[in-house]
């Protein structure tokens, strides 16, 4: 792997050049918080952000998108809308990078989803190594997502006055040579990078009281655990937890006529398994009526079912669902409580 050095004062310059050829998404200040959005100007980028409200998933699976247009004149015709353009997502934390790898699998498995995949194909990922945990809620170390060896085109790591840059792909290397004035790292700098990575180990706590690899087998014994009823009693079914989650990709498909009545649009919108009607059919039968069952469904997807399907756990430990929940439903506490009770028995 080639290592490069990019002086910090040149980041804005690099983003500026990128913006001529790409739509560049990056972390920006939004009041006291941070959001991943297309950068209005290169200086808006804030690589010192702790965590973004929504994950960079928004660049690849937007909250709402047109997926087809029906032209209504007499009969009708229909055509897909595939909205993709050359894009760079700059400054992705590694938890979110791991989440994108899961979305890649979900949207390419079985029936490939051109809306996501066309966008993904035109998108380059520039990730950023965290040297500190975002806050007390992140548990990326427990989930093994606190660093990354692949999945990126370029990967940045803070070295004080400069970023050490690891190249993940040829496209990433081209980006670096065409848009940035980076220079190859010296042996000392390479050594410095490895040391900084090693040093961060101690700063990141393990919040899960057991090895995350045990989650699928742990949950296999916990379907009827009393904790689901407790969570169900507290949950408001607001769907905030799934909206902020970088690995949640469930959606609704909604058709609506345009005001002109000459066209109708097929929309895809984020949906949430926490909402009451998510599993309700037209006859009125609701296959996941109890809030407890819906909470269990979310946690089982994260800790077991997506793993069984795609070989990756559905939780990357970003902690967003914990921060977002008004009633303090906490996925780490839940998993730990299940583990504790199964090991008491």
């Amino acid at each position: 792997m080639r290592l490069w050095v990019l002086p910090k004062e040149q980041v804005v310059d690099m983003v500026c050049r990128l913006m001529a050829d790409y739509r560049v998404w990056g972390p920006q200040a939004k009041g006291p918080q941070f959001a991943f959005e297309p950068l209005p100007d290169p200086t808006a980028i804030r690589l010192d952000y702790n965590i973004s409200i929504l994950s960079p998933k928004v660049a690849l699976q937007p909250p709402q998108e047109r997926i087809a247009v029906f032209h209504l004149d007499g009969g009708f015709t229909v055509e897909p809308v595939i909205d993709a353009e050359p894009t760079v997502i700059f400054g992705i934390h590694t938890c979110d990078l791991h989440a994108l790898a899961l979305l890649d699998k979900a949207f390419s498995a079985d029936f490939p989803d051109a809306h996501y995949l066309e966008r993904r194909q035109q998108t380059l990922l520039v990730s950023l190594e965290c040297l500190q945990p975002c806050d007390e809620h992140s548990f990326c170390k427990s989930m093994g997502t606190w660093t990354a060896d692949s999945g990126y085109d370029l990967h940045l790591m803070d070295l004080g006055d400069a970023y050490g840059v690891s190249v993940g792909t040829a496209a990433g290397e081209a980006l670096l040579t065409q848009y940035a004035q980076a220079r190859p790292a010296t042996d000392t700098e390479a050594q410095q990078l490895h040391e900084a990575r090693d040093a961060k180990r101690l700063r990141f706590p393990n919040r899960l009281n057991f090895d995350a690899a045990e989650l699928p087998s742990l949950l296999a014994t916990a379907y009827d655990h009393p904790i689901w009823a407790e969570l169900g009693d507290r949950c408001l079914s607001c769907g905030a937890c799934t909206n902020v989650c970088p690995t949640c990709y469930c959606f609704n498909v909604i058709d609506s006529p345009e005001l002109s009545l000459k066209e109708a649009v097929r929309w895809r919108r984020w949906d949430s398994c926490q909402l009451d009607e998510f599993a309700r059919v037209a006859s009125g039968e609701n296959f996941r009526e109890a809030r407890a069952a819906r909470q269990r469904h979310r946690m089982f997807r994260k800790g077991k079912w997506l793993y069984e399907r795609f070989g990756e756990l559905g939780c990357v430990g970003c902690g967003r669902c914990i921060r977002a929940c008004l009633t303090h439903i906490n996925i780490v506490d839940t998993f730990n409580a299940i583990h504790a009770s199964q090991h008491r028995r």
Partner: protein
């Protein structure tokens, strides 16, 4: 431009036949005459532009396709409501066929017991007619059909034809009779004592509302039919039909992909399935 799995093909309503107060049979064809290429038990996503999409089982047998396929549709809400007001010649959108249907190859040589309830006959009719079209390669054919009222019986002409055949054992019942009804009265499970089966050589198939199939499954099991030879078709909310949107999930299973047809053995330990 890349193809989208969410964009339907245009299809024409070749014919519309009223069946009951709530159900009509829609005969559908593609303008280029191509066939749908489905297996019994599979479904399509049917679109009405600007209104929405609904998953609908294919009710006709592939053995009778003729470049057309049939959908038996109950008027329930937005999409099906508009559809019921459409006329022959009108155009709809079709995606699919999707899902896993009935494995007819594994049924050959065996006795087949069908037990549809109400609208559950719609998907089973596809398989029943294929079995009847290849009658020689199956053992006994037993059909037990239950509906709420005589006026809700679907495919009445076909029911009469099945009743008249001596190579089909056909029993029908209604929950509540009316002044013209002289047949069986009672829920579908009351038909099971009328038949004997050779359990190990029997494949059993059911579809209907959850309250109905729970009891029907118990009858099938108590006849000694092996769990791997009992098939049922499940309904779930579906938005994509292709294993992405998450709506149809039954615990870890996707009804639209692994289903909608499952064996009892596949789902007996899946709590959300039954």
């Amino acid at each position: 431009m890349a193809d989208s799995i969410y964009v339907p093909r245009l299809a024409r309503l070749a014919d519309i036949r009223p069946m009951t107060e709530l159900e009509k049979l829609f005969v559908v064809e593609f303008p280029d005459g191509s066939s749908l290429g489905h297996q019994p038990g599979q479904f399509v996503m049917l679109s009405i532009p600007g209104v929405g999409e609904a998953p609908i089982s294919i009710s006709s047998s592939p053995s009778r396709s003729n470049g057309q396929f049939e959908l038996c549709i109950r008027r329930m809400g937005d999409v099906t409501g508009v559809l019921h007001r459409m006329r022959p010649g009108d155009v709809v959108g079709i995606r699919g066929p999707f899902g896993h249907g009935f494995p007819i190859e594994q049924m050959r040589g065996k006795d087949v017991l069908f037990a549809p309830g109400g609208l559950g006959l719609a998907p089973l009719r596809s398989l029943i007619n294929q079995v009847l079209d290849e009658r020689g390669s199956f053992g006994r054919v037993i059909i037990l059909y239950g509906a709420k009222r005589p006026a809700e019986l679907l495919f009445r002409d076909e029911l009469e034809a099945w009743a008249a055949r001596d190579d089909v054992e056909f029993h029908v019942t209604v929950d509540r009779g009316d002044e013209t009804w002289t047949g069986n009265i009672g829920v579908i499970t009351t038909l099971f004592p009328k038949i004997t089966v050779d359990p190990l050589n029997t494949v059993a198939v059911t579809c209907g509302p959850p309250i109905m199939y729970r009891f029907v499954l118990m009858e099938m099991l108590s006849k000694g039919i092996p769990e791997t030879q009992i098939y049922l078709s499940l309904e779930r909310r579906m938005k994509c039909g292709v294993g992405k949107c998450g709506h149809c999930q039954i615990n870890h299973l996707y009804c639209c992909r692994e289903g909608p047809v499952f064996t009892y053995a596949q789902i007996k330990n899946v709590p959300e399935a039954l």
